[in-house]
Symmetry: C2
Subunit: 436 residues, 2 copies
């Protein structure tokens, strides 16, 4: 079939640009020669099976991964790590909080909330956990104090609203929440901030509060799951794929015969993989957040990783932002540090496109882009990040990027043919176990 396609491609080139001779540069012919290096798929699949099996053994059994153990073993630990809770549990936590406030009022002491500090000085990276977490440090938010009266009121109101949402069994957005009492909240930043406070106070994730973010991500491949009770087969979602649901707690019954999860930075690469039904040749689950990862996609990836225990391979642009996207998936973003246990997926392998690939695959000079000053600044900052420092291979790649001052997009591989990504580059990467 690849032979047939090659002929079709060559024929088309000759037919299409009648004014020019078919031009075959040395880079293109080298790129084509890599095709002959590919072993039969059965051999590559054996490699992937070994990877998947190693991955499933390295994780402890059960849904609670090692990263959650911290909070569960020692609730009075020095760090705040929130966890997913069901509606009944969140509701009863709210009830306890409100009951305590009522008792305090009745005893003549007024009421006050103990709110964990989410200041950035309070956010630390824990190498053992490989995540950013929040140091446990609470401050009082008394109602009978001019400085905190308004915020205490907002806190009470948000608790009440979340309680109502949970009782109705629905999900709402942050914006919805804000609009229920614009007069009190003033602007959305205030209700959003208090919502995060409430999440920390109750020790549960924001999605447990049924306040969801908008969705951006899509998924296709060897995966079935139920979205709000509807059975979804992601091998039958055409090229468009299935939109990743905003409310992760409505996702259940995750099943898969995939050997790995392929995390893709960009929409265009996702489309290529979906149209070529890459997952039928190499059983995998393909997902993308279309750029900067949103909360829903991060929650979904983590659920897949924890429940299916599959290796996660990432395909991102060869630039500092590709690495930054990996860091958000792996270590979380700073302003959601208290929720990092539920939002992060540890141990993602950097499959490509890596700076060393540019020479290895002889990506033509004109398809590489010079790094801007800002790129270089971000790259240097990444080099100082703990999660990069931990992985020697990543440090080397990043140093090479900064030395050559070149970056490239995944689509640069299109210079060897539109399907080079799915027909040569990725199969060869998998065959050579070329991830770090």
């Amino acid at each position: 079939m690849s032979e047939k396609k090659r002929r079709a491609g060559a024929g088309a080139a000759a037919g299409g640009s009648a004014s020019k001779k078919p031009r075959v540069s040395s880079a293109a012919s080298y790129a084509e020669s890599l095709r002959s290096k590919l072993r039969p798929d059965a051999s590559i699949l054996a490699t992937l099976r070994a990877l998947a099996s190693a991955c499933s053994k390295s994780e402890p059994a059960g849904a609670s991964s090692s990263s959650k153990a911290l909070a569960e073993d020692d609730p009075a630990a020095n760090y705040i790590v929130v966890a997913d809770q069901d509606s009944a549990s969140v509701t009863s936590r709210i009830n306890r909080l409100v009951l305590a406030a009522a008792r305090s009022i009745l005893s003549g002491r007024g009421f006050s909330f103990a709110v964990p500090s989410r200041a950035s000085s309070n956010q630390v990276y824990l190498p053992d956990l490989d995540r950013i977490v929040l140091v446990r440090r609470e401050s009082a938010r008394p109602f009978a104090n001019v400085a905190t009266a308004r915020k205490a009121t907002i806190t009470a109101r948000v608790l009440s609203l979340v309680h109502a949402v949970l009782r109705r069994g629905i999900h709402v957005t942050k914006r919805d929440l804000f609009y229920t009492d614009v007069k009190l909240f003033g602007d959305q930043a205030q209700s959003d901030a208090v919502l995060d406070d409430v999440s920390c106070m109750l020790g549960c994730t924001r999605s447990s509060l049924h306040v969801v973010a908008s969705e951006k991500g899509v998924v296709v491949g060897r995966l079935t799951f139920a979205d709000d009770g509807d059975r979804i087969d992601c091998t039958r979602m055409g090229v468009g794929g299935k939109a990743i649901p905003p409310n992760i707690d409505r996702v259940s019954g995750i099943e898969s015969d995939a050997l790995f999860i392929l995390l893709v930075e960009k929409d265009a690469a996702f489309m290529r993989l979906a149209e070529d039904r890459f997952y039928n040749r190499f059983p995998c689950i393909i997902l993308t957040a279309k750029g900067q990862p949103d909360v829903a996609t991060r929650l979904f990836l983590r659920r897949l990783k924890v429940e299916l225990k599959l290796p996660v391979l990432a395909l991102v642009d060869s630039d500092p932002y590709g690495l930054k996207i990996l860091s958000v998936y792996m270590c979380g973003s700073k302003n959601m540090s208290y929720d990092s246990a539920n939002l992060t997926t540890p141990d993602i392998k950097w499959l490509g496109v890596r700076p060393s690939d540019l020479d290895k695959y002889r990506v033509p000079e004109q398809c590489r882009l010079p790094m801007t000053d800002h790129d270089i600044k971000v790259g240097k900052e990444m080099l100082e990040e703990d999660f990069v420092k931990q992985n020697e291979g990543w440090v080397k790649e990043l140093e090479m990027m900064l030395r050559t001052r070149q970056k490239a997009e995944i689509q640069a591989l299109s210079s060897f043919g539109f399907q080079y990504l799915t027909e040569v580059y990725l199969p060869l990467k998998l065959q050579q176990e070329d991830w770090i």
Copy 2:
């Protein structure tokens, strides 16, 4: 059921904010009183059935709507209107073009392409068609001329690439196309521009060239279709919905028992409607492009409208941008004017949220936002647009917006309860046939 929910809501409010008495503002109680105005669903459904039946009669039979007739009746018309073509037809058009160039070269005259001008001075709004179209005015692009040699080469190259893509039966993005010959194209703006030229030269849509845009839109509701052969039932897509496919030509077998299409501006409102399974109460298809409409969503909406002949009701923010979004769906954007026949959906009804709704539904003052100077400028510009001028109701609403200098988001309705949108506002709108 609504009674039960009301009680649950009241109970939650009392339980949640222990420090305050349940507060019922007059706006909220009025909002709640509207619930009693609702007739039984059967009665509202009868209204919708009448609407759907009127809509299907008003359109001519067959897939080709009146808006396409222009190009088909008179190919030498004064306007360029491209049409969807299958791969074989596009391929043979390219062959003819290239053959003509070859003959011209062999006869010693070199070669030249006749390229329609896409300059904005060439783009006009046709009231009869209610769309922006391109005036037919071609310029020569000879290869043997220093000024046009490069562009003629790029044109030949793009024709060749499109030919190759069509022969392979795949779809690619504009970015992929650019990367196949960075050296020649220089930057993506050039290959993109020539792609639009090629589209006009061949008289076919960009999606007929198999060059697709990235997808943003999602759909749920009473709709089934095939995406690349996979049967999709949009009532079984959970809360997340089905991602609208980037390549409309892979969509087939569209079937529906819906009575109308509900076009939603924003993700949050879409989520509310999906979670509440609004389409089960009032059979409809719900879709959103999550803000500014992308090409894939516009193509998809048009296909639904043309094949199903359903009325389209729009739910957008009450601000100038809400109206602007409607204008893009209805009349197209200026830089794609040559493709407006395939991208636009005429006769969309403005259901809400309309400026007059703010008082009618007594949306609290604090949930309305003051219009900025920029908002007012955009609003005044919209007032000058032909497509607004045509509809007296729209003019009045827009004038009211500019007079009151107030805008409001769809979510402002959340101030009456998270499900007010789906339980009261929309049913009442449908019952009262309150669209313009």
